[in-house]
């Protein structure tokens, strides 16, 4: 009796891992694909197929249509998958550690740009994100969406300053959710295309550092894609992206609340009359 109940308890875990193994095997068989589009190189690799496959076999998408798939991955398996993400991050953390260690002397040499560029990243999000948001018809949401790359530190800062259910908070939360769902895919695209295009002019390590400001998975996707562009120095690319990611994590909360959020707020009132003048009379919210 007792044995049966243990088996019953383990059932969703076993089912989850059957699905995981299938996803990994398919992803790894497809392997690394490179496409040349005009002057850019688009690189696709197994972790991207894995996240897409994981999403589409879920009960919300393909599970709705294919009955056996719903039996393998039901809502229960989806629920127990999250804690395993943290567990599977551990070997990656160890791999990051052994990648960074040998590069520490080189990082000290590049210390100034390595630290300083993190402060420029969130200026970049405002300078590009805020006007685009305003032109698309967003209002105060654009401030919340663009004052940071909108990961956990940004959620903390915006909810304390404006509350999460304010227009600003919804902007941050919106980008946060988008980041969770397709952030890795976009950063991999940025890493491979801009890596291959800007790599003709820019120092490869400058581009590697620029992979750092997002979440750990965004940085991983960006630097992994870029390591397939600059194959001869792939370890240095990964190591510098990791270091940049760590530094941005340390400075995010302080920098966001003291500099970038007030800056986005001010810039909003400067840009709004310029960019949305024509809509003034229509009474848009």
């Amino acid at each position: 009796m007792a044995e049966k109940s243990i088996l019953e308890k383990l059932r969703p875990y076993i089912k989850l891992h059957i699905a995981i193994i299938i996803i990994i095997v398919i992803s790894e068989i497809i392997g690394v694909l490179k496409f040349k589009v005009w002057i850019a190189m688009i690189t696709l690799f197994p972790m991207l197929y894995a996240v897409v496959l994981g999403l589409i076999i879920s009960p919300k998408i393909l599970g709705k249509v294919i009955e056996p798939l719903k039996k393998l991955v039901s809502e229960e398996e989806v629920k127990i998958a999250s804690p395993f993400i943290i567990g599977s991050l551990s070997p990656l953390a160890a791999k990051y550690g052994v990648l960074v260690g040998p590069h520490v002397p080189m990082m000290i040499k590049y210390g100034i740009p390595l630290i300083a560029q993190n402060f420029a990243a969130t200026i970049g999000t405002i300078l590009i994100g805020l006007p685009v948001g305003l032109l698309l018809g967003l209002r105060r949401e654009a401030v919340g969406a663009s004052f940071d790359i909108c990961r956990e530190p940004a959620l903390a800062v915006i909810s304390e300053r404006y509350r999460l259910d304010s227009p600003e908070g919804l902007g941050t939360l919106g980008v946060y959710i988008c980041g969770t769902v397709y952030g890795t895919i976009w950063w991999a695209f940025v890493g491979s295309t801009l890596g291959s295009v800007l790599g003709r002019v820019f120092h490869p390590l400058a581009l590697a550092m620029a992979c750092g400001p997002g979440s750990a998975s965004m940085m991983t996707a960006c630097s992994a894609a870029m390591s397939l562009v600059f194959t001869e120095i792939k370890d240095a690319i990964l190591a510098f992206a990791v270091a940049s990611n760590l530094i941005s994590g340390v400075i995010a909360v302080y920098y966001d609340s003291l500099v970038t959020l007030p800056l986005a707020d001010k810039l909003y009132y400067v840009l709004k009359p310029v960019l949305v003048r024509s809509e003034e009379g229509k009474g848009v919210k």
Binding site: I24, P46, G54, G97, L127, W186, H203, P213
Partner: protein, 159 residues
């Protein structure tokens, strides 16, 4: 259901890390053509680093010091320290762990993440297309802002 994860978080973490390490062999041998035998010592070193990091976190939580730092940070710190140039045996650790492809370690994480994130799909629908498009430009801005300043400084400093 998730009780096992909350009751003994450290043991759960160690087990989940072991499963993930084994899952990484799949990619390592299929996509990177590194045999399981060649990759085994490196994978075990990585796993030992994981255990050391989880152990440090366990002890620190017990004595209540630096509780805010996640396990991830401790694991990385252990890996970083033992591969610093000049650390005894660092070359051996670097040589063996090179046999474990970085991308092979990433695939299991994203497979779990893909399944787990499917919960968020209904929330994504509510976000609206404007925010969905803005998000792409926000991230692009972050990359360009950082890259441009890094490049300027590298040139100015003559690195």
């Amino acid at each position: 259901m998730m009780g096992s994860g909350q009751k003994k978080p450290y043991i759960f973490l160690a087990m989940a890390a072991l499963i993930a390490a084994f899952l990484s062999f799949i990619g390592n041998s299929i996509a990177w053509h590194i045999s399981v035998i060649d990759a085994f010592p490196g994978m075990m070193i990585l796993y030992a680093i994981c255990l050391a990091g989880i152990g440090i976190k366990w002890i620190l939580d017990k004595i209540g010091v630096l509780k805010k730092l996640p396990t991830f940070a401790w694991i990385m710190l252990v890996g970083l320290l033992i591969t610093l140039p000049g650390f005894p045996g660092s070359e051996i650790v670097v040589a063996y762990t090179k046999k474990v492809a970085f991308l092979a370690v990433c695939t299991p994480i994203l497979a779990y993440a893909g399944i787990a994130v499917s919960k968020e799909l209904s929330r994504l629908k509510k976000v609206g297309w404007r925010i969905a498009i803005v998000s792409l430009f926000v991230w692009l801005g972050a990359f360009l802002g950082a890259a441009v300043l890094a490049q300027i400084l590298i040139v100015l400093l003559g690195l």
